[in-house]
């Protein structure tokens, strides 16, 4: 698999928080690759470290976080040539990293209510991204912003660019946020639960919009969500995380038709589906998410796993390749080739 096909290559990412001199590990040994022009969905329960993972990659973590990785490589494609950027050692707010933000990597955060600065007009905020990276007049920038607003379906854009965030509804605000992220035409879009804070009907609109962007313009998307239904509609590949570790990784078909890790299986069984038989119960995963500070060695899911055995609690569990492109971190598959 060469760099032309892979836009982002993450290898052994570890992020911890320093809380009162104690180090709490949030992201443990995470590795994955994003194929160019596809959508990778990162799924898992709240608190499993999905958000922290992408914030670590984009280097937007707060000061008390410690981010270490063997490799975070972003492959930018310009005029058919690959420019590789090693992000792991870059200064978070240095020139190089900042030049990538906006132009190559665009981010859409979860809560549109708080993502926009309340005291500036939306048009100015979107244009700011443009003007930071490209030399153009304010008028030219404004034209581009208008174009983007039209493309994203924001009605009456000529007037709306002069409005303030509080004058928009939730769904419209999120479109503005997407406009902000897309205005410089980045190749990689990281969307951190972009629709969780919105109504269900608006959710569908926004996700359709993002799918359009990906399909029509060949963008690569990392979509963070805990909604398996969304994953089924949007994703090409799926990365399942639990307690800071990647427990399973594969294509959409592989994950949905051959879920291998007990956690993945439990996740899929707990999704409400129309047409449940009368006596069929909605399954829940027993137990509760443990405190990240408490977890010791072995598999993090051991306490809640129905197939747990003594071997599961010992040492580091490696990842095994069940089928090409499908990795599982579970002792049950130790017969397969070890890949991590």
């Amino acid at each position: 698999m060469d760099s032309k096909d892979i836009i982002l290559d993450v290898s052994h990412l570890n992020t911890s928080f320093m809380v009162e001199k104690k180090e709490i590990k949030i992201v443990k040994d995470v590795s994955f690759q994003v194929k160019r022009g596809t959508t990778l969905a990162i799924v898992g329960e709240s608190g499993c470290g999905k958000s922290v993972t992408v914030h670590s990659i984009a280097k937007l973590m707060p000061k008390n976080a410690v981010v270490k990785a063997d490799k975070i490589q972003y492959n930018a494609m310009r005029d058919g040539q690959i420019h590789a950027y090693r992000l792991e050692n870059m200064a978070p707010y240095g020139k190089e990293m900042r030049s990538l933000r906006g132009t190559e990597i665009g981010m859409v955060f979860q809560d549109p209510m708080s993502s926009l600065n309340p005291v500036y007009k939306v048009g100015d905020q979107v244009a700011e991204n443009l003007l930071q990276h490209f030399k153009m007049s304010k008028k030219e920038a404004q034209e581009k912003v208008l174009d983007m607003f039209r493309k994203l379906g924001i009605p009456d854009p000529e007037h709306r660019i002069h409005d303030y965030p509080f004058q928009f509804s939730g769904g419209m605000k999120q479109r503005v946020v997407i406009a902000l992220a897309m205005i410089c035409n980045p190749e990689l879009i990281i969307a951190d639960e972009p629709t969780t804070a919105l109504d269900v009907t608006i959710q569908a609109q926004i996700m359709e919009l993002m799918k359009d962007l990906q399909v029509n313009e060949g963008k690569s998307v990392i979509l963070i969500t805990h909604n398996m239904g969304l994953v089924a509609e949007q994703a090409d590949e799926v990365c399942v995380m639990y307690m800071g570790r990647v427990v399973e990784f594969g294509s959409l078909e592989q994950i949905f038709e051959n879920p291998s890790h007990p956690y993945t299986k439990a996740l899929l069984r707990s999704v409400p589906v129309l047409g449940l038989a009368d006596d069929q119960k909605l399954e829940t995963i027993p137990g509760a998410t443990p405190n990240p500070a408490d977890v010791g060695e072995g598999c993090e899911f051991a306490d809640r796993c129905s197939a747990c055995c003594a071997e599961c609690r010992k040492g580091r569990i490696p990842a095994y390749e069940v089928e090409p492109g499908h990795k599982v971190r579970c002792v049950k598959f130790k017969g397969c080739k070890e890949v991590d």
Partner: protein, 316 residues
């Protein structure tokens, strides 16, 4: 914006009337004969004069008639005479108001600039030296009585070291410049006022820096200085503007005691002497004027806040 300004202006007027009514009514309750302060002392000398004057000035009229007449006098600037000194209240105020203004303005300016600056730096460089100094000063500033701090300063700088005057606004002998007279009172007031503002600004700045829109700004690849100056400050400073409304009354409160410590000839010392001596006309006039000043200041801050925050003026 104009509509907002007018609305706020109109809200001020009934409040002012209410306050003046309360003050007028309260002082009527004390039972002091108004004639004693409504005419100059020489005219009050003879008894028949007094009765005729009472009738003439309508002092036997019903309460509300007298109240509105008084309001009229206030508006026209006829403030009457002081019982204790016999001098015209208007002249007294003309001399003393500027003194208090000078003290208050300098203190407000310095304490705001220093307080906000330390607060912001404390937030950006958390747990740095400035942060600790700031927190230490804040705690001390809120616990040591302002006037005690003042007299300590007088003892150290004026008496022991002799480099600054012990009080008053100017030296009769020209020994110290007017600026030197200002230093100790201003420093004393500033340090107490800094305390609250430092903590408040620091907390606001911290919560703004952790907000999502700052993250968005950074995700656009903006340089850090732009993130701070353009995105963080405006939002962090906005609540500070609101706090400004509450600082002016604190300043005036403080000046009452500080002017005593430094023998500063301002409104504070005027009202103190008036209360001790039972000089009701002075008390009435100064109280109403102070209240009016506070209302105007509050109005100005409202306008300023609206200018800074579109949500306020467009009416969320």
């Amino acid at each position: 914006m104009l509509k907002f300004t007018l609305k706020k202006l109109l809200q001020m007027i009934p409040m002012l009337l209410l306050i003046s009514l309360l003050v007028f009514g309260a002082l009527q309750m004390t039972g002091v004969d108004p004639i004693s302060y409504m005419v100059s002392p020489d005219m009050a000398a003879s008894a028949e004069n007094l009765e005729a004057l009472r009738e003439q000035m309508g002092l036997n009229d019903p309460f509300f008639v007298r109240y509105f007449r008084w309001v009229g006098e206030m508006l026209r600037g006829e403030y009457g005479y002081s019982i204790t000194t016999g001098s015209s209240i208007k002249t007294m105020l003309a001399q003393r108001l500027p003194a208090t203004f000078e003290l208050a303005l300098w203190s407000l300016l310095l304490s705001t600039v220093i307080g906000v600056a330390i607060g912001i730096v404390s937030a950006i460089r958390q747990n740095g030296i400035i942060d600790y100094i700031g927190r230490f000063l804040a705690v001390i500033g809120q616990s040591i009585p302002q006037f005690f701090f003042g007299i300590c300063m007088v003892q150290i700088f004026a008496i022991k070291m002799g480099i600054l005057p012990t009080g008053n606004r100017m030296s009769a002998t020209g020994e110290f410049t007017q600026a030197q007279h200002l230093i100790l009172p201003v420093v004393t007031t500033t340090i107490s006022m800094c305390a609250v503002l430092m903590r408040y600004t620091r907390n606001n700045m911290l919560s703004v820096m952790n907000s999502d829109y700052v993250k968005t700004a950074r995700s656009k690849g903006l340089p850090e200085w732009k993130v701070y100056f353009k995105h963080a400050f405006r939002n962090a400073l906005r609540p500070v503007m609101v706090v400004l409304v509450f600082r002016l009354p604190l300043l005036i409160s403080g000046s009452v005691v500080i002017e005593s410590v430094f023998s500063w000839p301002g409104i504070g010392i005027t009202i103190t002497d008036a209360v001790v001596a039972g000089d009701y006309p002075v008390i009435m006039v100064t109280t109403v004027l102070v209240a009016a000043a506070m209302l105007i200041a509050s109005f100005l801050v409202d306008v300023l806040t609206a200018l800074l925050d579109p949500r306020v003026r467009l009416g969320e």
